[in-house]
């Protein structure tokens, strides 16, 4: 059912600034193998960044300065001609090294797809058994869903601070867990609204390469993967009783752009915090496919393990419903709205009450959705905002779209100062991370006519015509 994707060994960190890459960053994570390219142009037709060179009939190649590493070309190439940089060997070696504690940071969307690599139906939920499989392989677990909850606390509070600062407040009282803190928010009046999400590394690079004027609008919150890495080597090291330098953090991601993200030079913040040089927050990234490859090499099949018996949250395995839906378009938005609703209204969620479903922000298979969410304000906010009910306006861009077709109208409004929104979520991949470039590949089925056509092309190439 799923197709094996060709990989090549991880290398390619540039030594000095090269085009749109800074020293230390990985360049060329996605590559087209010209030997397998028939020039069908499918990759071009799904590229958000206009980064594929070559027209119909030509051998195609990637313009690395434009490429945002999303891997949509890889997912959709009917001929398996697109290949990925892989770090499976590096992680295998670390697992064998007894001195090293190898930590798996498992992204939300991995749990609804990895089963496919072991024969399960698409969408099969794999949480407890994935933890069990990873522990058997020798990993400690830092579920990236826990980091998604961290992201919401940080990014959600940042959003509230900006909205309040723009309403003229100098201080923002926030009550969490029955404790009140007062945040000094004067500086947030200089941060423009709307706030854009920053968890999608392909989107972040897209902004940096194509819309640098949008940088001030991006949330300063790191992506969950990077929060996880920095936390694992500081707070995590304490809890695990390990030396930070003996911890090796591995992002397990549905995403090829996460491989790039981990190599960004500024992501050595645990090292800076601990005053230890040469330490990376995230040491290696495996895609969902890479993890399946690693487990297969170790003869571990998560689908043979028990889902319910193994799903016992503890430590960094705890996560909320809001966190797990990060994997799908609109999920970050909904999680942020659940949190903001709690803080602003003072109400506590009832776990199963549909009041805490915000279906209006779910992307599903619509290119863009927007919603206005009326939030009843607790008394002290009523005075501050001068209203009893705040109308929170949000927008979700479900995939940047080919040549940014979904995204462009939204960002053009922002740059023109006409955007009505407080908060905008952007995910590069249509559907969200569940359809990310690191996920199991289900080849597009070609019609008989197309098969005939392209086999003629191949034969021509082989000199048989």
């Amino acid at each position: 059912m799923v197709r094996k994707v060709n990989t090549f060994k991880g290398n390619g960190a540039v030594k000095s600034q090269t085009g749109t890459y800074r020293a230390g960053e990985l360049r060329g994570i996605i590559k087209i193998n010209e030997g397998n390219c028939v020039g069908c142009h499918t990759c071009s037709s799904v590229c958000p960044a206009g980064a594929v060179k070559g027209s119909f009939g030509d051998k195609h190649s990637i313009d690395l300065d434009k490429c945002i590493n999303c891997g949509q070309c890889l997912l959709n190439c009917p001929f398996g001609a697109v290949e990925q940089m892989s770090f499976v060997d590096v992680v295998m070696a670390k697992l064998k090294d007894k001195k090293t504690k190898v930590v798996a940071i498992i992204a939300p969307a991995v749990r609804v797809a990895i089963g496919e690599e072991f024969g399960a139906e698409p969408g099969t939920l794999t949480v407890g058994r994935l933890w069990a499989a990873l522990e058997k392989a020798g990993f400690l677990i830092y579920d990236n869903n826990f980091a998604a909850d961290q992201t919401i606390l940080e990014e959600g509070t940042e959003l509230l601070a900006k909205v309040a600062a723009h309403a003229g407040l100098k201080q923002l009282p926030v009550e969490l867990w029955g404790k009140k803190i007062t945040l000094d928010i004067k500086e947030f009046s200089h941060h423009p609204l709307p706030q854009f999400t920053s968890c999608c590394p392909a989107w972040v690079r897209y902004v940096e390469v194509f819309y640098p004027k949008l940088i001030p609008y991006l949330s300063s919150a790191k992506s969950p993967q990077q929060m996880a890495g920095a936390t694992a080597k500081t707070y995590g090291a304490k809890l695990w009783g390990a030396k930070p330098e003996n911890i090796f953090t591995v992002g397990v991601m549905p995403c090829t752009a996460k491989i790039f993200e981990a190599s960004r030079p500024e992501f050595d913040s645990a090292g800076k915090y601990l005053k230890k040089s040469g330490m990376r927050d995230v040491d290696a990234v495996l895609t969902t496919r890479d993890l399946a490859e690693l487990l297969k090499r170790m003869n571990i099949d998560p689908m043979k393990m028990s889902e319910d018996a193994s799903r016992k949250p503890e430590m960094f395995k705890f996560y909320s419903g809001g966190a797990t839906i990060f994997g799908t378009s609109g999920g970050v938005m909904e999680a942020a709205v659940r949190f903001a609703f709690h803080v602003l209204s003072g109400q506590e969620p009832q776990a199963m009450s549909p009041k805490w479903d915000f279906e209006g922000v779910r992307g599903f298979t619509k290119p863009v959705v927007s919603a206005t969410i009326p939030v009843p304000l607790r008394e002290e906010y009523q005075k501050a905002f001068g209203t009893k009910e705040l109308q929170v306006k949000v927008c979700v861009v479900n995939g940047i779209g080919t040549d940014a077709a979904h995204l462009k109208p939204i960002v053009e409004d922002v740059l023109a100062g006409k955007s009505p929104y407080h908060f905008i979520e952007v995910m590069n991949c249509p559907g969200g991370c569940i359809n990310g470039g690191g996920q199991p590949v289900h080849p597009i089925e070609l019609s008989l006519l197309d098969q005939l056509f392209y086999s003629l092309v191949k034969n021509f190439e082989g000199g048989k015509l």
Partner: protein, 108 residues
Amino acid sequence: MKIRKLTRRSFLKLAGAGIISLSFTKPSFAGDTAEKNFFETKVGKERLKLIKARQSGQYKDDVISREKFKMAASHENPMIKRFYSEFAHHPLSEVSEALLHTHYKARV
């Protein structure tokens, strides 16, 4: 090489034209960029079933997290509460700024 490439390309176009005349349509997936909504493109339509299946898995996990583990929103996660009380103090604290926030870099 250049000549061969041109020949190959023109062959493809010719063969493509042949197929088009046979089927009254372009070979699937070729040059689909004009359409605005990915989910209505040929590739997008091929992906709908898979996207929906994985999305429903994700929302099923939301229900389990809420029903069984009683956590709908992020602040209800007991380990989050512990993380802040033992280590990061509160959102946007100095520790948070050092470890959980970042900056960006224009690349043009």
